[in-house]
Amino acid sequence: MRLHAIAAGLAMVTAACGRPATDDALARIRSRGTLRWGGDVQGGEPYVFQDPDGGRLVGFEVEIADALARRLGLPAEFVQNDWQTLIPSLERGDFDVALNGIEVTPARRARVAFTRPYYAFTETLVVPRESGAVRGLDDLRGRRVGTLEGSLALDVLRAAPGVDVVLYEGVEEPYLDLERGRLAAVLLDNIIAARSACPDPRCARRRRWARACTRSRSVPTSRPSSPPSTARSPG
């Protein structure tokens, strides 16, 4: 079973010259005294988001960044950056590491070095529950399918013939439009699908999504690169 993996992109200041940059980058980080990592708070739970009590940043990627920095003996410093432009900003040197659900793709590998992956995921297609005939992307020819600009899901959708791709800049909006009937389906990483379309019952804060959940279900995508997802809507 082939899985897509999220990994952190490692800064390479001399990437354009093709010189090995890892040692330079480490020396630079140490001399500055902080590990600066880039992410987009708008990506939301559970990646990086503001704790409603006090506005502190929390999320599993915050903890990974802290753990990385601790191993270097340095504090971690978060730098807010739009998700779509994390790689260009990394190349500019705005931060040392981009660590925010960045999927390993051939296009990105040509630009930055990746750390060992820290999360394996699948793409999940979410459709309204009443559209029972939809079994995969092949059933969505000529239909509007939403996803995030610059995501791996977009690459998958572009390879699917006849699908009318609708691009969003945030992860909540496509599911809102799905709920309103403006989209036939949404294709995104399974974490996002699970949290945005169908809340984890353990996460009480997201109870307002319960209504959307009773109307949507996830279907496995039929492309071989996207194996059947284990994410399921309640009901």
Partner: protein, 251 residues
């Protein structure tokens, strides 16, 4: 972190651990693989032209709403009954005093339960209503520039208030406002790039999409800027010509 179980601990704490995650234990870091850098080619030009066409269509439709709506608002504000005047005043202040980006979000996502507009309609209506507030202020300046004597003379000749407004005051007021309206059209042309937040792919959005595909911002950025200039320069010339032609003749 993978070896000592700290990563697993973090993922478990966030309820993200599943059997798939065992696969990453054997994965290794990935160096840059060089790869071929796709370039900006002529093949992208039709996409950009299509984006530019969308920009023009959205801008023209929105400006049509703004010109008509602005006229209604400015007349309501100057000649309407007191409640109507107040309402028009609130309209202008709210739409001018809040970001158009926010208005587009509210119109498309916030009002969706009661007003299910498609993205294109929401873009045109959102921009049109926002610019109507600005246009109404331009007309107001125009209306104020017409001497009171003109209205008084028209009424003395037996015209009704409405006829006097329509045939005497408005033609003079609009002449004063026209260069400002042309300038606002240029501003609207560029503000139309904001509608990409509600999924409309116009010229600027096409640029960011292409920039990701060809992995460079300079080429797509220059092409996009060039197309905007091609669209706005004639308008800019038009605005200047109107200003010259409509300037008060030297005494």
């Amino acid at each position: 972190m993978t070896g000592d179980g700290e990563l697993r601990g973090i993922l478990e704490r966030w309820h993200l651990w599943d059997e798939r995650q065992t696969a990453i234990a054997s994965a290794s870091p990935l160096a840059m693989d060089g790869g071929s850098r796709a370039g900006l080619t002529l093949a992208y030009l039709p996409l950009f032209l299509r984006g530019a066409a969308f920009t023009i269509v959205i801008s023209v439709l929105a400006m049509t709403i703004a010109i008509g709506g602005g006229l209604v608002v400015s007349i309501a504000r100057r000649y309407g009954a007191p409640p109507l005047q107040a309402a028009a005043g609130v309209y202008v202040e709210v739409l001018r005093g809040t970001p158009v980006l926010l208005q587009l979000y509210v119109l498309y996502y916030g009002l969706a339960p009661v007003l299910p507009l498609d993205a294109f309609t929401a873009a045109v209506v959102g921009l049109g209503f926002n610019y109507a507030a600005y246009e109404s202020e331009l007309y107001r300046a125009g209306l104020e520039a017409v001497p009171v004597g003109q209205t008084e003379a028209a009424l003395a000749l037996g015209m009704s208030r409405w006829t006097a407004l329509r045939r005497i005051v408005l033609p003079q007021a609009l002449r004063v406002s026209l260069p400002g309206v042309a300038n606002d059209f240029i501003a609207l042309l560029k503000d139309s790039s904001l509608v990409s937040v509600i999924t409309v792919v116009e010229l600027t959005k096409q640029m960011t999409i292409t920039a990701v595909d060809v992995r460079g911002w300079l080429g797509p950025g220059l092409l996009c800027a060039g197309l905007y200039l091609v669209m706005s320069y004639p308008l800019s010339r038009l605005a200047r010509r109107l200003e010259r032609r409509l300037a008060p003749a030297p005494a």
